[in-house]
Symmetry: C2
Subunit: 262 residues, 2 copies
């Protein structure tokens, strides 16, 4: 049974792409067949795993708007068990195409269902991870309606904390009206630096307010994590011994543990 997981937050720069790439790479490393979907016109997840956006022929735009079968846009990455559905700035215009059409919000869900239904068991993915743009528009809506669960990365800073209540309430509305089985996989604290008052304070506030909905794993602030994308490598391949690597390995274990519980 494939699990589709979206990484979402309208607040910019909170670590959505970093978390999507590294979670997908760690799941693949643990032997789970994983597809990373870049659903942001910035195409950061695409370059973060080593592809030059301008050289990619077919992207998620083609699967959404040009009816190209999802299988045809998938790329093999340099990492075992990890495939990429790439994006580039073409995806910007998808936002307008989808908005004009009542059933536009289900286009990704339909594309994925057709792919999964026709894919033989032995090559069907175990996980699909979707990296979303910093907005609550048609693209994030499509991702959430195609998902089984959602991860909210939240930077331990004031503006990110302020936006958390909003994103949680919009997702609740979405679950009630469109996708009742959408679950919260967890709130993920990112760029944590426990030497700083602000970071400790925000972490405490979030854990107090949201309890077990917050992953016990936190992602520490680590410059190696921000260096890795310029080499097109997930952290476990760029610097396997680094604190950033350990954070994402621990996060992946927590998510795998959720598997056996559900």
């Amino acid at each position: 049974m494939v699990k589709v997981l979206s990484v979402v937050n309208q607040k910019g720069g909170v670590g959505k792409t970093t978390s999507a790439i590294n979670l997908a790479a760690c799941l693949a490393h643990r032997g789970r067949r994983t597809i990373l979907i870049d659903f942001d016109p910035q195409g950061n997840a695409t370059s973060g795993v080593g592809f030059a956006k301008q050289c990619v022929e077919k992207t998620v735009y083609d699967a959404l708007i040009e009816d190209v079968p999802f299988r045809e846009i998938l790329l093999e990455t340099a990492f075992d068990n990890l495939q990429l559905a790439p994006a580039n700035s073409d995806l910007l215009s998808a936002e307008w195409h989808l908005a004009g059409d009542d059933s536009g919000k289900y286009v990704l869900k339909q594309s994925l269902s057709q792919y999964l239904w026709s894919e033989p068991e032995k090559t069907r993915p175990d996980y699909i991870i979707i990296d979303c743009p910093p907005s609550l528009g048609q693209l994030s809506l499509n991702a959430l309606l195609a998902s089984d669960s959602v991860v909210f990365p939240v930077q331990c800073e004031y503006y990110a904390l302020e936006g958390l209540a909003e994103i949680l309430s919009s997702t609740t509305l979405l679950r009630q009206n469109f996708n009742e089985h959408l679950a919260l996989e967890g709130i993920l604290l990112t760029m944590v630096d426990r030497r700083l008052n602000l970071s400790r304070q925000v972490e405490e506030d979030i854990r107090q307010a949201y309890g077990s909905n917050v992953f016990s794993t936190v992602i520490v602030r680590s410059v190696r994590l921000s260096e890795a994308p310029s080499h097109g490598l997930p952290i476990i391949h760029y610097d396997p011994g680094s604190p950033g690597s350990k954070s994402y390995i621990d996060l992946t274990q927590e998510i795998i543990d959720h598997e056996t519980k559900s």
Copy 2:
């Protein structure tokens, strides 16, 4: 002559709001009558200068979509010479209203022109600073078409560097087709930490590629800057002696110097 300046970058978390608030506050501190427009549905600029988003009655949404005169949405802040045009999540739906209408991209420009034309000389602003959301949608388009110049904050990290070429080329297209007098005020390097290789490397790459289009002032990474918004204070009022404060005071001097040149 009023100067309208947009702070834009589709990459999230690069310091748009932090730069818009602190530039506006420093200009006001230098005796320039300044209006800060929060043009992001997240409403971070609104809370960053001390207003609770949920308590604000009229917002930029009302000026854009409900034809409320721009003067009626302005709030007096606690800081001399600084007024705020607030935002909240209502602005999300403006994105769709504006998209459906051919002249939707000029709605802010029209609202501001009506306001400036009818405002008496002695209360007319010297500067209008617009904080944009992390996307290149209708809101950022409206801001750019209403602006005289644009500031691009760029974090000294890989993904922000990658997005810079894209935002510069979209703005060039915009200037050619819609707003030929839109000037580049400058590329602003933010969260600079010269102890880190990555930060030094990205700064060098950007200065080499864009030369005098890059402000000589950089904004250093400083935790006091990320603490200030939780107190609803710009940095020059929260911690006037801090490195973050000095960075924005220097940036403001550079922009005032541009005044005398143009």
